[in-house]
Symmetry: C2
Amino acid sequence: MLDIEALLALPRYAGQDRETLNQTIEAAHQLALDQYLPHNRKSDLQEPQMVNGKVELIPEIAAAVAAFNDAGFIGMYADTDDGGLQMPFLATSICDAIFAAANPGTVAYPLLARAAANLLKAHANADQQARYMRPIIEGRFFGTMCLSEPQAGSSLGDIKTLAEPIGDGRYKIRGAKMWISAGDHELGENIVHLVLAKIVGAPPGVKGISLFIVPRFRLDDEGRPAERNDVVLAGLNHKMGQRGSVNTFLKFGENDDCTGELVGEPHQGLAYMFHMMNEERIGVGMGAVMQGYVGYRYSLQYARERQQGRHADQRDPSAAPVAIIEHADIRRMLLAQRAAVEGSFALGLYAAWLVDRTEHAGPSEGRDEEAELLDLLTPVIKAWCSDHCLRANELAIQILGGYGYTREYPVEQCYRDNRINPIHEGSNGIQALDLLGRKAGQANGRGLRALLTRIEQCCATASEFDDLRAHAEALKRYAAALGRTSATLLQAMAAGQIRSTLANAHHYLQAVGDLCIGWMWLWQALALKRSPRQQEPGFVAGKLGTLRYFFQVELPRIEHALALLASADDSALSMPVDGF
Amino acid sequence: MLDIEALLALPRYAGQDRETLNQTIEAAHQLALDQYLPHNRKSDLQEPQMVNGKVELIPEIAAAVAAFNDAGFIGMYADTDDGGLQMPFLATSICDAIFAAANPGTVAYPLLARAAANLLKAHANADQQARYMRPIIEGRFFGTMCLSEPQAGSSLGDIKTLAEPIGDGRYKIRGAKMWISAGDHELGENIVHLVLAKIVGAPPGVKGISLFIVPRFRLDDEGRPAERNDVVLAGLNHKMGQRGSVNTFLKFGENDDCTGELVGEPHQGLAYMFHMMNEERIGVGMGAVMQGYVGYRYSLQYARERQQGRHADQRDPSAAPVAIIEHADIRRMLLAQRAAVEGSFALGLYAAWLVDRTEHAGPSEGRDEEAELLDLLTPVIKAWCSDHCLRANELAIQILGGYGYTREYPVEQCYRDNRINPIHEGSNGIQALDLLGRKAGQANGRGLRALLTRIEQCCATASEFDDLRAHAEALKRYAAALGRTSATLLQAMAAGQIRSTLANAHHYLQAVGDLCIGWMWLWQALALKRSPRQQEPGFVAGKLGTLRYFFQVELPRIEHALALLASADDSALSMPVDGF
């Protein structure tokens, strides 16, 4: 599907080839099987403990994280000048996805560290990069993102953590941060907390937020971790799933001795953080996809093996039972899972491809338009994929029946591990506001136009094939309808009807997501026409059958969503508070 | 809504009045608060253990169960001649629902015992009733339903447990039973296992299944538990939720010393069991509703209290945050929960009302038609309500955000406890086959006609009110469409297109369920017109607002479901097995 050559032709990837990428992905697969999958269950059963103020993890986690770092995955996307492998973001995303499928809790430690390094690369100065980013890429330091506070989860403008300048670009930090993944542990020499705080006297709201580096151990003059900074582990959060990834409540400056360094300019912290949050949001969507995938594959295997019942029209009770994959309702549940997870997987990888293009192509190569498209797709990938791939896990449990409900089988853990994805990195309701309230109209609607144009091009090409024409025409019709509805909504908001229009942002995101997933299925079918796998009848039937399922059973719901949007449905807003 | 007087006028309930029913319900409420709710969390954390072959439960369970039995709830529906209170099934269902909301795991023990007693009442002989049923109603014995086996969960025709006659109506039993709730414990003097087995030489399939009483302790001549029967606890199942209710794997006759008594006639066991399974299915639906209700109420309270963010059109960051119930997407998630749980609650209670009418009214009072209607609604209540009330729990978690994902808050347990309901007592896929393949056409379609007629009557009455007319007309239109689609499907099956028609049974059940829930909301609005609560503006706005939400946002999906049914969508069936 994706034009890899267009990436490898970028100057940044000179010297890379498909073979190297494939070998790296294969190495990730092997490492995931060897050191991530085996303790995925144990991590769930033996969650991190706080013992004498320290976090205790099962030992498998440290070994797996060290192996990840030693193999270079921590620096896979980083520049070679910074000690990295400088491989495409797309290939990195595929490797990350493989680890996330095997063990989402353990891989969170290095992935958070890498996210912190990426942020420092983009916004910290050279000295900070040398002292904090480089050791992360070397696998010695780890990192966190400290945004939420107990009273301010989704609403970052209301954070209360304060920073008081003490000279040299250093600040005294005081505050409390909630939901900090990998907030404390003994996996490395140091932890680089990236902390949002307000400098004393800063403007209210998001325009007064700055970003600070707050290390667990302050560095000495040679950059070695020295005395302990005043960052205290105040407690652990005990979660429904993702139990291997320790989630903490941290207190900064309780003893008035927490120092941090400002990153970049004052009051620009949220913008810096957003640069990385966007990549993280794609990562969350992909993490959801992978748990969806695991559930799909597991329930598929079970459905092939489990013998139970007979066909509805088979009256002979002494006939042998059939595998449950023969039953239509089991097939429906398999198709629903597959349509969501493989469609989402394609969309997530397309976004990763766009990240490479956006960060490393030139403006003449369409970079700016692709940046807008990526901005538009980001909330869709985060929210649609996490919603629907979580739903897929529910179906995986259903296929396994009573066995699926037990902890002897892995699908209930898939659900629990996946349940966080519609919540964190901006809840899905917030993603919908971001999509309709910001991204759809951003840059005069350029990203949305790019999306609709690309979908139309795909439909035009697909129309040339007899077996795809009807689907292509349906998708084209829906795309046009979405375009019209979007114009109406943007006009309404421009005319000041902001609250009433955004009240239906959820339906808008679902409609855009449905359209994108339909596009991904049509695109996959097109790619298949020129693929050697066209020779594999089962593979072809599977892809085309799932496309057909999605277009016949699921995609038509877009019509009702668009109707709700067109009518500016007010059933949520019009309910008085005391009516609930 | 429900015509209680029509129940209290039945001869069986002579002497009962509303006041007594209300007092009993209030007593259930108080007991649930005092002895069920407090250990609901502890039960989840400290699940039953198998120690030296015995089940160990936390002590609160025994105390709560004893209090339930002592207060008479165990015999609430049983005849006074049998030691019961002879109260309506409707009132019993309400009390059960209250306990199920507070602690679904603990109440499972007495409710299963009561279910066993009900079955014995219907099908056992007087001597068996005296020896096994009466002690259950007295709270001394408990009971189980032993249907599934490891290789035969949904497909009971394939059970392998054997019964060999040894004279006196006694049989030697040998086999293994899986998923047996409350299969072993020390709560009472004895456990009455109701076991499906095949008498040696019986016909294959479901026509060869007989029902046996297999006590944990054999009774002596005076009916006292004496020597141990050969029923062995082989293991516990460790579940995602409902952990307080022990779920067991039992082996019968491993040492060739398990004796049981035949209930009723040979080979009629499945019919006997179904009598009770139908009531259990309503109970499962109601259990799902109550977990949905708990999640709704909890997330509503949270949404009222949690201050976060501002309105989308509120630009001043120094303005005070608003309660999240102000946000449209939170309202949407509250409305979706409420539409499902209160609509389902009404439907479940209507079914309970029908049980009373069906079991205790005379044929001239419309009993036979109502029995058909109840048969039709049973799979809808089991499956639609468990599907949608589970979805409601997912939304409750979402409203609580990160807090909802932690085990410090109750909503994640609601989800886990509720997740079993779409699976047990016949998976929801099987309910759909039951509805379309059996109930819709049963008795020449009398149940379906009764449903559509009652809906039409409700619509006709509602059309007289200006604020309900549009909804009434929409519901009437959908009911007519469902009638036409049903006729088409029944004709197709009569013409032999069984497999292709039943392939879409899921969509049929969803459509019937959507229609029924729409009906329940319209009916509630009508009932409100003549209720004293008409004077409470918040209550009225809440009911009408939720009705409006359901009719505008959710109910229209019925059109797509009916279109899929009308087109005999074959996307599930046409996929080759090797395409998955």
